[in-house]
């Protein structure tokens, strides 16, 4: 028994009578203009990501490196090793590096944003030599991170370093010279130079954002008797919120991927920064290029990338309105 009925002649006639919808003409020109950029994105970003993902599923080490992408495929074994195998050297070091990286990112971001915002507020007024002050304050940001790591490596030395000289000999804040590059202080030895280099650019961004806040709002607030703190809390902070939210996100991403300062301060990649100095990126680099475990190194980088994607998605979701200025 057939359940499909043939369309009758009337139906066919009706269909013919219905005017055919006009196909919307697509303007190809914008796509042509976008095509080179899209192609470059695929070549520069997408292909390396796909290749990296495949590398993370290969037994790619010193003995198989010459085979490169033809190295034995081992599925998710690298991920299992670095995430769950307690005997895996990458896993063993990762927990400490993860703790340090989390604390480091939070502390550096909070301090850099706080100092940057504070100095921007101080500079957001007219005074003689303002341009010179702003330029001089930008100097730390101009110094490359490799140089920052090397310079602070010298500055932190216990006996010859300038930090202890200032703290102990000049300011008399301590009665003995502490070690900064050995023991628990290594954590502060990497945090402080990172903040030192990061805050000036944030200051400049916040200063630019402050220029866009209408002066009328402050005048109206003053007329209403609002004090400095109230003006900051109810005018400045809401006005800067989109910029702050974006900059905090960028800072956290930058700091989680931080490498240069730690690597240069502790033996140019030769050594191990210590229990409190190791971060995820130096760990990843050590595993990949000192231990030659490229497959596991790629797996760690994809775990990091996944965590960062989740973080960025949550952050964007939480602060979407602030970032897009939607109400």
């Amino acid at each position: 028994m057939s359940t499909v009925s043939e369309p009758g002649p009337a139906a066919l006639a009706g269909a013919r009578a219905t005017p055919r919808p006009r196909r919307r003409k697509v303007d190809a020109f914008p796509y042509l203009l976008l095509a080179p950029a899209a192609l470059m994105m695929v070549i520069v970003n997408l292909l390396p990501i796909v290749q990296g993902l495949r590398m993370s599923m290969l037994k790619l080490n010193q003995y198989t490196l010459s085979q490169f992408m033809d190295a034995p495929f081992i599925g998710l074994r690298n991920y299992r090793g670095v995430l769950f195998d307690p005997d895996n050297p990458v896993h063993a070091g990762m927990l400490g590096a993860l703790r340090n990286t989390a604390l480091y990112s939070i502390l550096v971001t909070a301090c850099s944003v706080g100092i940057g915002l504070g100095v921007a507020l101080l500079l957001d007024r007219e005074f003689p030599g303002k341009a010179l002050a702003r330029t001089l304050l930008m100097l730390p940001w101009v110094v490359p991170t490799y140089v920052v790591g090397t310079l602070w490596g010298f500055m932190w030395q216990r006996d010859e370093g300038i930090v202890n000289h200032v703290l102990v000999d000049v300011l008399h804040l301590m009665d003995h010279k502490p070690f900064w590059l050995i023991g628990g202080n290594t954590f502060f030895a990497i945090v402080i130079p990172t903040v030192w280099r990061a805050w000036p650019v944030l200051m400049l961004i916040f200063l630019a954002a402050l220029q866009a806040v209408p002066e009328d709002l402050y005048e109206a607030a003053r007329l209403d008797g609002a004090g400095a703190w109230q003006r900051f809390r109810h005018i400045t902070l809401p006005a800067l919120k989109p910029v702050i939210v974006i900059q905090v996100m960028f800072q956290i991403i930058d700091n989680i991927y931080s490498y240069n300062i730690v690597a240069m301060m502790f033996g140019k990649g030769a050594g191990y920064p210590g229990e409190w100095g190791d971060l995820l990126m130096p760990l990843l680099t050590r595993q990949s290029f000192s231990y030659w475990r490229f497959g596991e190194g790629a797996a760690v980088s994809f775990v990091m990338m996944a965590v960062m994607l989740v973080f960025v998605a949550l952050w964007m979701r939480a602060f979407r309105r602030s970032m897009t200025d939607e109400e």
Partner: protein, 450 residues
């Protein structure tokens, strides 16, 4: 036939075509001949002299003069990034024609298939390695496999550099001080903290972490205690043997006792050597490159006027010194292997090795060059380095040495933190636990090599 009717029309063109073909053939011959005559060798070296970009071309200039049509493009890498660049070249088979490789790097690159093994004929041309120090000749091979992959180029032999004025003022006889471990410790105790030339001198300097030399610094102490870095079959770490533990305990105790100041442990070798030349330390274990630094110091500097070289203090089982250096090899992907070999063989000769040693202060890798008066007569210390090299010892040439050294460096850095007195207090059980962790991780690296 119609085809036969064409010649009258085509006949004027035939000589043109023939002429054109002749010109093309001549041009092609010229191009081929030109290519044959214009061989460009690419050579990668490390910064063995202060200005290797100038000195290495000068070193090979006599060879280039004898090979018209061959030019050599020298690229100077650095020790920090050189490893990554060379491994990438070996993996991709795209690299130089010949290159310098650290003696511990060579087995890894050879095992990757990145180097051209020397033929029997080539080996015969260099006396099957007889002119070279046998310890260094072994570094041109891969442990447990046949094949020779290059020639030793220059040597790094470690020794004790000490301040003669400090020893004199403390009333310590250097010959007695370096006799054995006990006399060495006693000598360090006597010189530690004395003031010489207006400067308080710490007894001994060695890098604790943040440095590539951490393992090389410790190795001779382990060998001299009768231990080794690996088991005889090179399949396991041997750092947990009683002999190795004895050496590690002695070596650490020098820092725990304060004979190596804690602030030395946070510095790298480069800074420590500068500080030794500047008069901060009485003794430092270093290599021949320190001679260059000493002689570059101002004429009146204390170290330049008052230094000498001694072998490692004898341990319970000997007086070995770390012996390494650099080798020259032909890259597998080279398209000019014959020319590359000719240059390698030239640089492996006595006269170029002596010249390089004078330019760099690194010891020649050939026995005859290391005993040449041009090297030994420069300063008595050079002759002493040559004598110390007789007891030199190199690591077994295993491909996994690179990752293994990274594991050792990491954990020995932790040992230095423990010895420094900052944080956890040093104890022998804590040291043994740390070495146990080192061995576990090192064995994993070695297992992967199987």
């Amino acid at each position: 036939m119609p085809a036969l009717a064409i010649p009258p029309l085509a006949s004027p063109a035939v000589p043109h075509r023939r002429r054109a073909a002749g010109w093309l053939a001549a041009l092609a011959l010229c191009l081929v001949a030109g290519q044959a005559a214009a061989v460009e060798l690419s050579m990668w070296v490390m910064p063995v002299t202060n200005n290797a970009q100038r000195d290495i071309p000068a070193l090979i200039a006599p060879w280039v003069a004898r090979h018209p049509g061959v030019t050599v493009r020298v690229t100077v890498l650095d020790w920090e990034s050189g490893w990554n660049k060379i491994t990438a070249a070996a993996a991709s088979r795209r690299g130089p024609d010949l290159l310098e490789l650290g003696s511990t790097w060579m087995p890894a690159i050879a095992a990757m298939g990145g180097l051209e093994p020397l033929s029997a004929a080539q080996l015969a041309e260099v006396g099957n390695g007889a002119p070279y120090y046998p310890q260094l000749w072994k570094t041109t091979q891969v442990f447990g496999r046949p094949g020779i992959y290059g020639l030793p180029w220059y040597a790094d032999v470690r020794a004790a550099f000490y301040r003669t004025d400090v020893f004199r003022q403390a009333g310590v006889d250097p010959a007695r001080a370096f006799a054995d471990w006990d006399s060495f410790r006693a000598a360090l105790r006597r010189i530690n903290g004395i003031t010489v030339a207006g400067k308080r001198v710490a007894a001994l300097a060695y890098a604790g972490k943040n440095d590539w030399n951490v393992v090389h610094n410790l190795a001779p102490w382990i060998w001299n205690a009768g231990g080794d870095m690996l088991t005889a079959d090179a399949k396991r770490s041997a750092l947990d043997t009683p002999q190795a533990l004895q050496a590690i305990a002695f070596y650490s105790s020098l820092a725990v006792e304060g004979l190596v100041p804690s602030n030395a442990l946070e510095k790298d070798s480069d800074i420590l050597e500068g500080a030794w030349v500047g008069g901060d330390y009485g003794v430092i274990f270093s290599g021949p490159w320190l001679m260059r630094r000493i002689f570059e110091a101002p004429a009146g500097s204390v170290a330049r006027a008052n230094f000498d070289v001694a072998p490692y203090p004898a341990g319970p089982h000997g007086r070995a010194s770390f012996f390494g250096g650099s080798n020259l090899a032909i890259f597998k992907g080279s398209r000019h292997k014959a020319e590359a070999w000719d240059l390698v063989r030239y640089l492996g000769g006595k006269e170029p090795q002596v010249r390089l040693s004078l330019l760099s202060s690194m010891m020649p890798a050939r026995v005859d060059a290391a005993n040449d008066p041009a090297w030994t007569a420069r300063h008595p210390a050079y002759a002493r380095l040559t004598a110390i090299a007789a007891d030199g010892r190199a690591y077994p040439p295993i491909p996994a040495w690179g990752p293994l050294e990274a594991v050792y460096t990491k954990h020995l850095g932790e040992l230095a933190e423990l010895s420094s007195g900052v944080g956890d207090k040093y104890s022998e059980p804590a040291m043994r636990a740390l070495i146990h962790d080192t061995v576990v991780e090192a064995d994993k690296v070695l297992q992967e090599a199987d």
